[in-house]
């Protein structure tokens, strides 16, 4: 079994497991009347998941090349920023502060220019400020969306 086949077997197994859970819940939870439609879906879901699993296990599944280690390493910092922003920062620090930090952090990290140059740091700060101003005007002034203020504003 080569790596690619293995890569395809993992999601196929997870999806198959999910389909079993969905079916189990659909046929056991009450009130039954609310689950008529989920039941129909879950049966089709299991059938398709099995089909997909067989294809993956026999190596027929070739569309999509999976995730390689190098990519995962590149994604990691961005992913951390994203998760922190959505699950903690946005509420704790306020939308505008948290977004500014997240924008600046992600931009700085993925910007290929050397990190020693002061000029580039300044440029990134200015871009962040400009972008957040646009967002502020659009959402707060024009659309009057009241976002969590958190610590600052």
């Amino acid at each position: 079994m080569n790596t690619q086949r293995l890569q395809h077997v993992v999601p196929a197994t997870i999806i198959f497991g999910l389909s079993i859970i969905v079916a189990w819940l659909s046929f056991t939870e009450e009130p039954a009347a609310a689950y008529t439609f989920p039941r129909i879906i879950s049966i089709i879901f299991i059938a398709l998941a099995v089909w997909n699993f067989i294809r993956a296990a026999t190596g027929l599944s070739r569309v999509g090349r999976g995730i390689d280690f190098g990519e995962a390493k590149n994604i990691l910092p961005g992913m951390v920023i994203m998760l922190l922003l959505v699950f903690w920062g946005a509420k704790a620090l306020g939308f505008y502060v948290a977004s500014s930090i997240a924008f600046f952090a992600a931009y700085s990290f993925y910007d290929p220019t050397p990190l020693s140059s002061v000029k580039d740091w300044a440029k990134r700060a200015v871009v962040t400020l400009l972008f957040m101003t646009v967002i502020y005007v659009l959402f707060s002034s024009v659309l009057q969306v009241h976002t969590p203020r958190g610590l600052f504003f």
């Binding site: 009130p31 439609f37 599944s61 999976g66 961005g78 994203m82 997240a102 993925y110």
Partner: protein, 509 residues
């Protein structure tokens, strides 16, 4: 030809200013992620309090037409469909933008919207009485079958693998059942608190389309080469016009599908673009180019979702039944001024109705002009360096998904769905069929359950769901669609498997 005599009302200074303001404002609101046309029109209602009835309606009409078209901007440039109507536009439009053809894609999308929209409004002008009766024919069983018909295109939509397409759609259908069952009011599949409200469609759209893209950009890492994501060459307006009219097949399929589906109350706008896109592909000799940045895809999708605007108002104006959420908001706009839609509205308030309809005609044209004018300028957004683009889309996704319902739960669901979708995409699953399942699931389920209750009180489900000319036509279409998609996909995969063995690597499963 009565409507011609009311054109004067559209060209009064105040009306004209509102028309311009409504169109430009609508384009901007439509291009903002998280703002569907319904919300945009609802936002404008307070402004109409201070206006005369006709003026208020001119503003709303212009805004409605241009928000639908404006949604294409973020769909094409950022791959964030502002509303379900623009999903199909994102499929090919964003690929074009990535190739640096953003300006071309935007120009084509506005032109196609304009053509589709004009024809749609024309239908509203000339065929309203006929169409109104037709729209009423669609009852619960028929809406159920239409939703199922939509489900049947899932397998072939933007997916290189048939089984994975179907499976994506199935996951979408399941996701749509999370949260409260609308009729029974029982909670289903609520694994954690944020899910108790169910999955709201706009945050889901943002997550499923925008987040995988952000992660994709992160995956490139700190790359020295190619600081700018792409070049945006200017694209001549006349070339776009020529291209539009040489793609007459996609344009007419889009317009026809959009107007027909737009008429059906309750289904309309959400799926017009996707169904038109799928049909345009089925009839195209260049089938395989769809999804890779093919202009026909953009043309079909955008002509359909603007063609739907006119006919979707037919049930509202003649029967006082809003056929779509946006039409419901427009109804509010009429009621505030004491205008009750109904079969006699054209005789009781001709000046209001005709001015409103005329303003949508002019609005379509203005929308094309402003849209084209800004296309080249807007396309430069896609030129931003990758790190700015990635961080920017992330922040927009946060604000966009929050602004729909001011709920952190929506934002968290958005991110979870997005990360999940990124992983799934890496293994050949795709977002479009999943979203289609998410949209159609509730329509199918609710109409099935309501229909079953009526059927139980009458002659039973068999008679209720399978007899009557409209049911038979729809069921036949469903069977034909399933058969067709199995036939082509199985056949193709058989050939692909054979060639695979000889060639080793095959592009398609």
């Amino acid at each position: 030809m009565e409507f011609l005599s009311y054109f004067g009302g559209v060209f009064e200074p105040v009306a004209l200013a509102l028309l311009f303001g409504g169109t430009i404002g609508g384009l901007i609101l439509g291009a903002t992620p998280g703002l569907s046309p319904t919300m945009a029109v609802a936002l404008l209602i307070p402004f109409t309090f201070h206006l005369a009835p006709t003026q208020g309606l001119i503003l709303l009409g212009a805004a409605y037409t241009s928000t639908v078209a404006g949604g294409a901007v973020s769909a094409i440039l950022l791959k964030i469909p502002g509303a379900p109507a623009n999903i199909a536009t994102a499929l090919d439009g964003n690929e074009m933008a990535k190739r640096g053809e953003g300006a071309r894609a935007l120009q084509l999308s506005f032109l196609a919207s304009g053509v589709g929209g004009l024809i749609g409004v024309m239908l509203l002008i000339f065929l309203t009485p006929v169409l109104a009766q037709w729209a009423l024919q669609f009852g619960f069983p028929h809406l159920f079958w239409i939703a199922i018909l939509g489900v049947t295109v899932i397998g072939s939509l933007d997916s290189k693998s048939f089984v994975k397409g179907l499976l994506s759609g199935c996951i979408g259908l399941w996701l749509s059942t999370i949260g409260y069952d609308d009729i029974q009011g029982a909670e289903r599949f609520v694994f954690f608190d944020a899910l108790s409200g169910g999955i709201t469609i706009i945050p889901a759209l943002i997550g499923l389309f925008a987040i995988p893209q952000v992660i994709e950009m992160f995956a490139k890492g700190r790359r020295e080469s190619k600081v700018e994501s792409l070049e945006v060459p200017k694209y001549s307006f006349m070339d776009s016009v020529r291209e539009l009219f040489s793609s007459i097949r996609a344009l007419s399929i889009g317009t026809v599908v959009g107007s027909v589906i737009g008429l059906i109350p309750g289904v309309g706008g959400q799926i017009a673009g996707l169904v038109a896109y799928d049909q345009a592909r089925n009839f195209s000799p260049l089938k395989d180019k769809f999804g890779t940045g093919h202009s026909e895809g953009v043309i079909a999708a955008e002509s359909a979702n603007n063609a739907m605007v006119g006919p979707s108002l037919v049930p509202l104006l003649t029967l006082s039944i809003p056929g779509s959420p946006t039409a419901a908001v427009l109804l509010g706009g009429l009621l505030i001024h004491g205008i009750f839609p109904g079969s006699d509205i054209f005789t009781n308030h001709p000046e209001v109705v005709w001015t409103f309809i005329n303003s949508m005609l002019i609005g379509q044209i203005l929308m094309v002009i402003f849209g084209i004018y800004t296309a080249a300028w807007a396309a430069r957004i896609a030129k931003a360096p990758v790190p700015i683009m990635a961080s920017g889309v992330l922040v927009l996704a946060l604000f966009g998904s929050y602004s729909v319902g001011q709920s952190m739960g929506d934002v968290q669901i958005m991110l979870i769905l997005g990360v999940g979708m990124y992983i799934l995409e890496k293994f050949g699953f795709s977002a479009a069929p999943l979203v289609l399942g998410l949209i159609l699931g509730p329509i199918a389920a609710d109409n099935f359950i309501t229909g079953s209750r009526i059927a139980d009180a009458q002659d039973g489900p068999w008679v209720y769901f399978f007899t009557g000319p409209l049911n038979i036509v729809l069921v036949t279409m469903v069977v034909a669609s399933i058969g067709y998609s199995f036939w082509t996909n199985m056949l193709r995969s058989t050939f692909a498997d054979k060639s695979q063995k000889s060639a080793g690597e095959a592009p398609a499963e």
